[in-house]
């Protein structure tokens, strides 16, 4: 422990430990017990079980409590009263490509966003070095952003 010193942030000790001279394995702090780490999530699992139970119960019970009056038109796809169009959608149909594009861009920017989180948590420990690094990172992704913008990837008709 004395090797690590006292810092204000969570990631501070990690950085210092990495920067410090090689430490003998025996002197390193033991890793956090995985059991206590996972134990934190037990209430979340309980809430999941309750929510899932409620939702599945509702879906399963619905056909039994409701009436059942057969009418073929009722089971057709709803298109405001007109005859349902031949399905262009299910099974290899087409849809606007812009949606795929948005999904791809989402992955790009979501990953950028997720990378910003660890930086934000440990920004104080990283100081100016970390700031320059993250600025370079944002600028690099910014090139992709500008490229997509110029190519019309963000336009919708």
């Amino acid at each position: 422990m004395p090797v690590l010193g006292v810092t204000t942030t969570v990631a501070g000790p990690v950085i210092e430990a990495a920067l410090a001279a090689p430490v003998h394995p025996a002197q390193q702090p033991p890793p956090a017990d995985p059991a206590t780490g996972l134990a934190l999530y037990v209430p979340l699992v309980l809430l999941f079980v309750l929510a899932a139970g409620f939702a599945i119960f509702s879906v399963v019970i619905a056909p039994f409590v409701g009436p059942r009056r057969y009418n073929r038109a009722k089971l057709d796809a709803y298109e405001c009263g007109i005859e349902p169009s031949p399905q262009p959608i299910v099974g290899g149909g087409r849809m606007p490509v812009a949606y795929y594009l948005t999904a791809m861009l989402f992955i790009l920017f979501d990953i950028e966003m997720v990378f910003l989180y660890p930086f934000a948590v440990s920004a104080d420990a990283l100081g100016v070095f970390g700031l320059v690094e993250i600025a370079l990172f944002i600028i690099t992704v910014g090139f992709a952003y500008v490229y997509v913008w110029r190519r019309g990837g963000l336009d919708w008709n």
Partner: protein
């Protein structure tokens, strides 16, 4: 690592919760969310009704408060329809997938500090995870699956279009939301929601990060598909959006998850920007902060959350729906770059303050000079060129282009055929007055037609 292992004070407080208390909290959160949903549906109908000079539901229960409960019960006894083209399993699974994450996200929201329940000391929060904020974002992302799958599995065009729109919308605004939250994390130095509330003891992040707050507000409305961003269920275009083909309790589950998501993002806004469960300023000074202890904070928390929920309704009652391209432009071309630049600016200021010992006064002075310089530059910029289309195209009062007054309309083939012998070569380019000379109009107006009909043998 030391702090992760030991945990924050709230984590330690929660760590020794007995099982009965955890189960009690789980049930309490579940009940709170369901009751909030029922309340919100009634509240929304009443408030929107007042905004539109109507009365709203006022028959069932006092002030009509039980209306949404009655509606829910009625939905349970409606016929459960499964369209023939629907994919059976996914169709049943989609409402479940969209409901579960809606409930889960609320688990990390801190609703109050240390309290004593039946002699057991605990915090008014189910879990305080070291990655609390990320859990909310992750769970919100899973909720998109419910929407996409419901639209896909319905086997019907309107739900599919609605779900695609909805998914694109939610993921687009999730980026803006995440980038707005990053700034908060930067200042709190932790992802734990209880830690973020703790960091706001001496001032809400709303004052410190106003731009983040505005971006968060915009993206939280976009993320929950609420008016004016309710394009996935634009009635005039897509009937009901992704849940068009759903009925009975499955429809109710979608409704439930939408309202729970509203409550969750409002609670998250309270936690991130409005000081969480902390009493607002004049009250926080009362009696040496006594109103920040015990069960009082639950009141402030619910009050602040209700304020945000009211803003949702206010927006719905005030603003018209955006067009889809405008909406996506706002998300991708305004909110994302502004959020990124704001984050860069905030982290620069933060780094300068912590490492270079620059005071906030100096930063404010430099920032003010930069702002004035920027304003001067904008004054020097030339105005956007005025378009001169008006002179080229005569425009009617309602901006629709009118045909030019000297428009030459080519004659109909029939007129040309009848005139054929006499005006052999002139026929095609003949002007309108020439056509009137022969007793016919080129366009074939009413009287001309009649004459024409009489004249033909």
């Amino acid at each position: 690592m030391t702090r992760l292992a030991q945990g924050t004070p709230v984590q330690e407080l929660l760590a020794d919760d007995p099982l009965w208390l955890i189960i009690g909290k789980v049930i309490a959160i579940f009940a709170l969310l369901v009751v909030m949903t029922l309340f919100m549906i009634w509240f929304e109908r009443r408030v929107v009704a007042r905004m539109q000079h109507r009365i709203g539901p006022n028959r069932v229960g006092p002030f009509g408060m039980l209306q949404s409960l009655a509606d829910g019960l009625k939905l349970a006894f409606k016929e459960d329809i499964r369209p023939v083209l629907a994919d059976k399993w996914v169709y049943f699974l989609a409402p479940v997938i969209s409901t579960i994450p809606a409930f889960l996200a609320f688990a990390v929201i801190p609703m109050g500090p240390e309290v004593s329940i039946f002699g057991e000391r605990t915090a008014l929060q189910l879990v305080d995870l070291p990655v609390g904020v990320l859990v909310v974002l992750a769970v919100a992302a899973v909720g998109v699956y419910g929407i996409v799958l419901s639209g896909w599995s319905s086997g019907s065009p309107y739900p599919l279009l609605g779900s695609l729109r909805s998914a694109a919308q939610v993921i687009s605004y999730e980026i803006a939301m995440g980038l707005a939250i990053v700034s908060v994390v930067l200042y709190s130095g932790t992802l734990s929601t209880a830690g973020i509330v703790e960091a706001q003891a001496h001032g809400w992040f709303f004052w410190l990060l106003p731009i983040s707050f505005v971006i968060y507000m915009a993206s939280m409305v976009g993320e929950t598909n609420r008016a004016p961003f309710d394009l996935p269920e634009a009635e005039s275009e897509l009937v009901g959006g992704f849940h068009t083909e759903y009925s009975s309790l499955k429809f109710a589950l979608f409704f439930l998850s939408e309202y729970i998501n509203m409550v969750t993002v409002s609670a998250l806004a309270t936690t991130l920007f409005f000081g969480g469960w902390r009493a607002p300023w004049p009250l926080s000074a009362v009696g040496d902060g006594v109103l920040n202890t015990g069960w009082w904070p639950l009141l402030w928390f619910l009050g602040k959350t209700l304020f945000f929920l009211f803003v949702f309704i206010w927006l719905r009652g005030t603003l018209p729906r955006l067009r889809y391209d405008q909406f996506m432009r706002l998300g991708w071309k305004v909110l994302v770059p502004v959020a990124l630049l704001w984050f860069l600016a905030v982290s620069t200021i933060r780094a300068l303050r912590t490492t270079q010992g620059i005071t906030s006064q100096q930063i404010l002075i430099v920032g003010g000079i930069l702002l004035v310089a920027l304003l001067l530059v904008t004054f020097l910029l030339p105005d956007r060129a005025v378009r001169h289309e008006e002179t080229e195209l005569p425009v009617s009062g309602s901006d629709y282009p009118l045909p030019p007054p000297d428009l030459k309309v080519p004659r109909t083939p029939r007129v040309r055929r009848e005139l054929g012998g006499r005006h052999h070569r002139e026929g095609e380019g003949d002007s309108v007055p020439a056509a009137q000379d022969t007793g016919r109009t080129a366009i074939g107006s009413g009287p001309g037609r009649k004459e024409d009909g009489d004249g033909t043998p």
